[in-house]
Every structure is written in C-alpha cells, then in structure tokens.
Amino acid sequence: MREWAEFSIAEGEGGARGVVLSGPLVVASIGRLDAQLRGIEGPFTHIDLSGVGEVDTVGAWTVWRFARDSGADIVGASDKARRLIAAVHRSELEEESTAGAAALSPEGMAALTGKFVIAYGQGVKHFLAFLGELIVALATLVRHPSRMRWTSVVRQFDLVGIRALPIIGLMSFLVGIVIAQQGAVQLEQFGAEIYTINLTGRLSFRELGVLMTAIMVAGRSGSSFAAQIGTMKLTEEIDAMRTIGVSPMEALVVPRVLASTFMLMVLGFYAAILSIIGGAFISMYSLEIPFWTFLSRIQEVVPNHDMWVGLIKGPVFGLIIALAGCYQGMRVEGNSEAVGIRTTVAVVQAIFAVIVLDAFFAVFFTEVGWG
C-alpha cells in the first residue's frame, strides 16, 4: 500500500496559523498533497516539517513553492530537507508566463494561410533547386563518365528491379485473372466473351501493367529512398560525403533515379506479360479458350503502339517516383519523426503524380492517334 503525504492545519496562539505536513515528501507520494495545497487558502505563518519522513527534490520544491506563495516560514526541517530546499531556492525559477496559444482569430487564420503559402512556395523553390542539382550532376556524369558509380547503379538495379520481380509478377498475374474473369462476366451478356482477350491484352499493356507496377515500386523503393537518404541526412553521413568531396547527388540520387527510371520500363512490360498470362490462365477454365489460342489472339488484337504506350509511360513514372523519394529524403531535418513524415509524403506524392500523369497520357495518346 502506498503511503501519501498529508497535511493538517494547526491554529496557534496570537493568530498563528500553520500547516503541518506528515508522511514522506517524495515524488511517489506528493501527487495528492500538491493538489490539496494548491486548493487551500492562506495566509499561514509557518510550515511544520517535523513530522515528515523522506524528502526528495520534488517534495522540497512543493514545500518551497507553497512557502513562497503563502508567505510562511519553514520550520522543523531535517538536515536533508534544509539542504534540498536551499538547493531549490538557489535555482529559483522565473514565473512562467502561462499565456496559451492564441485562439484562432481572423488575423491568426490569415497569418496561418500566409505561412502555408510561403512554405508551399519554398517547397517549390527547393524542388526546383533539387532538380537543377540533379541535372548538373547528370551533365557532369555525361562529360566524365568515369565518375559514374557503376557499383551503386547495379546495386540499385538489383534492389529496385530484380528483387521486385516475384511480388510484381504475382500481383500482375492476379490482376490479369481479375480483369479477364470480371470482363468475361460482363461481356458474356452480349455474347461477346471473345473480346475478353482484347480487354485483357490492351488494358495490361496500356494501363494496368505499368500503373500497378508504379504503385508497387513507389511503395517498395520510393519509400526506401526517402527513409535511407533521410536517415543518412540525420546521421550526418550526407555532410560527411560532401566534406570528402563526394557529391551526394552523384553518389546517391543519380543511381537511384537511373535504376528507378530504367527498371520501371522493364518491370512495366514484365507486369503486362504476366497479367496477360494470368488472363489466359483463367480464360482456359472459365471461357474454355485454350491457353495458346489466347496468346496468339493477343498478337492479332493488340496493336504495337499499345506496347509503346506502356514503355513510354514506365520511365516517366519511374523518374517521378525516384525524384519524390530522393527529394523528400534530402529534405529530412531534425529528428526521427521527420524521416517518417517525409517517407509518407514521398510515397503519397509519387502515387498521386503518377495517376495524374497517367490521366494526361491517356488523353494524349488517344489524341495522337494511338487510341
């Protein structure tokens, strides 16, 4: 059972009115006493500590503050209590202004809006600066190809591309099954289930292969770019690189941008193929179209430009994902929370930008006659 610090009020002669404290005055026992002392009305002439057991700095602080606020003298303090109270007294705190955060006034709203706009503008400026640095780094590498960090590039190709093959393959295969199966159910109503092949083939090449891959890569690699570069920023590794004369742009950002750009093109194509295989697989059972017939029909119904649409969109999406990840990583400052926030922002921005651009591409390619 926990013992609490307690108090009683002693009325003495000649208007003397004291507070008698008892029990241990330590951090574990002070909680209730503090609240009670804040509630009682002074003035008091003295505070009697003779019945007090253990004292620690929290107890000393509470006694001292009460003595200060009520103008009472402290009597009957043990050696240790006196020493602690003296220590508290030495480091007397300035009264803290307790003005809370200003309520949301119209001026406050305007100020907040202004701050937001300025921060947004700063963000755009920072991003442009980042793009500029990246272009300079790329130009330097074109002029001095020997400075290219091929080991790092190959490693990123491996991380972003090769290691994503199983998960993207499985995902695309399943997506292919879903499109073919759901498409077949609808098209059957018109007796047009043979068009399932057109649907699966064209959708996979033009849209779904590359879009789903982009989302997967943004989640897999975009986030890891941001988190890794951000952590390196926090641990001053980026600063260390700069002092050694290694450009973080060349060493960290360029390999990631190259890997993401190139690999998304390849992965997007790979995803489209797997998606069609998935479609062919399910058609074998639900539509009784033989597997190889499905594939050879694909060659007839999917125009070549559908493949090109996918292959053009892939690198653009990859570039966006790498830029968002690396840029947000480089913007990490301060603490570990910033790494988390920046990583989230990188993924959200990347996926959002990818979908916006995808909508743009859809209209664009139709307009130029690749519909």
Binding site: V27, A28, D56, L84, V88
Partner: protein
Amino acid sequence: MSLEHFTGDFPIVVEGLKTAFGDHVIHEGLDLSVRRGEILGVVGGSGTGKSVLMRAIIGLQPAADGRIEVLGEEIAGDHADDDIDIRARWGVLFQGGALFSTLTVAENIEVPLKEFYPEISPTLRREIARYKVMLSGLPDDAADKYPSELSGGMKKRAGLARALAMDPELLFLDEPTAGLDPIGAAAFDQLTRELQDTLGHTVFLITHDLDTLHEICDRVAVIADKRVIAVGTIPELLALDHPWIQQYFNGPRGRAAQDAQARVRAGVRAGTKAMDKPGGRGA
C-alpha cells in the same frame, strides 16, 4: 511501490557475472560492489565491456551466468520489462543522451514522471521539469527546445536532467564528459559532484576522462581481462603493480591529470576533496 530508500551498504552487487555475444565472451567471473553514496568510476580499455557491464546491471543485457543485485533486488536480465519497481529508482544517462527526439527537453523529463506517477498534476509536473532543467545547469529557455536544437554538451545535461527526473537513488552515467570541451567537462564534473552532495545518490560512472576520475570519483574500478581487476582510490590503484593500471594512470595524460590535481590541492583546498575520503559517504 516502495517509498523506503535502500539502506543497505551496497546498492549494486555483481557476483560472478558472465556476459557474452555468441561465442565472444565479454565478462567472466566479474565481481563488483558499489557502496551506497559513493561515486564509483569505471575504467577500462576500449572494448573491455564497460558499457556492457552497465547494460547488464540495468537489465538491458542478459547475463549468461552470475548474479546481479540492485537496491537489494535481483535483476533478471532476461525479463527486461519486469522490475518496474526498481526502474523508478534509478536514472540512466546514455552515451549519446538518448533523448526522445520528438519531445522537447521538458517533455523528455516529464516522461518518467507521467509513466510512474500519473496522479501528479500537469502543473506540478511542468514545474518539476523546469526545476530539473535548472538543476542540470541548462538555461531556462532550453526546456522548450527539441534535442536537435541543442549542442552536444546541452544534450548531455538534458539527458542528466531526465535521469534525475525521479530523484533516483542510483545514477548511471555512461561517459558523461566524452565529447565535451574541457570547460564544459569540468563544469559537468562539478555538477555531478554537487548533485551527489545535495541529493546523496550513488553514482556509477563510466569514463575515460582522467580529470573526472581524479576530480570527483570516490573509488575507481578497473576492468581488464574480462573482470574487475581492482577497485580503490587512485592512490590505492597506483600502489598496485598491474601494467595496464600503471600505463593508464602514469601515461603522459595520466601524469598531466595528476599534476593538475596536485596544483588544485596545493592551491585553494575548498572543503573536503573526494580523494581524501576512502569511499562511503552515507546519507
């Protein structure tokens, strides 16, 4: 939860401790007793397991063998989240400060208070936090700063303030003066000594700083050959004929620290110096 302070003579007792990372044995048959109310310095070459010893004592590093008793209670190394009762009674300053980076200094100090004593009102908690900030020698406005806004020395002080939040009976300091400038280091030593004089806690201090050892430690424990090879005051250690101890204290840096200490003694003998008293300064 116990309100009684530990009244035995040895708040930390380590017997036959063995710790190992896989096959790599760090300590074997290590014995150490820390007296109540002393500042015990722990020295040893890099990689001799000073920090591992501290982690074992505070229950972060499971012991492969042996017994560790802190404040009269056995520390079960493999249940790091048990012994809550004991955890409220010690404070730890980690090497890098280990402040929670998303909280301000004051909020950092409030964390253990909130955790153990939720009945303390926010006002009092805030006052305690600000008081500890002052106590650790930080300027008042440091309370509302985030760790990333503090210099290395201020981070150490903020870490100390958090370690002191609960008025611990035991204070563990892991290389408190490493990375501080000589003035900052001397001030930190002074602070450690003053706080110990005022609050009367026992200090377990890992250090490489010879000045710290001379200036504030009551006794020094030397770790070598996987165990504590000697414990005593510096003159006692110097009397031993162990090559590492001789090299450590009588090397060029050790000499310089001794000379500095001698000059201090020859000059103003302010109060009783730590070295004059062999150990125990009970409360």
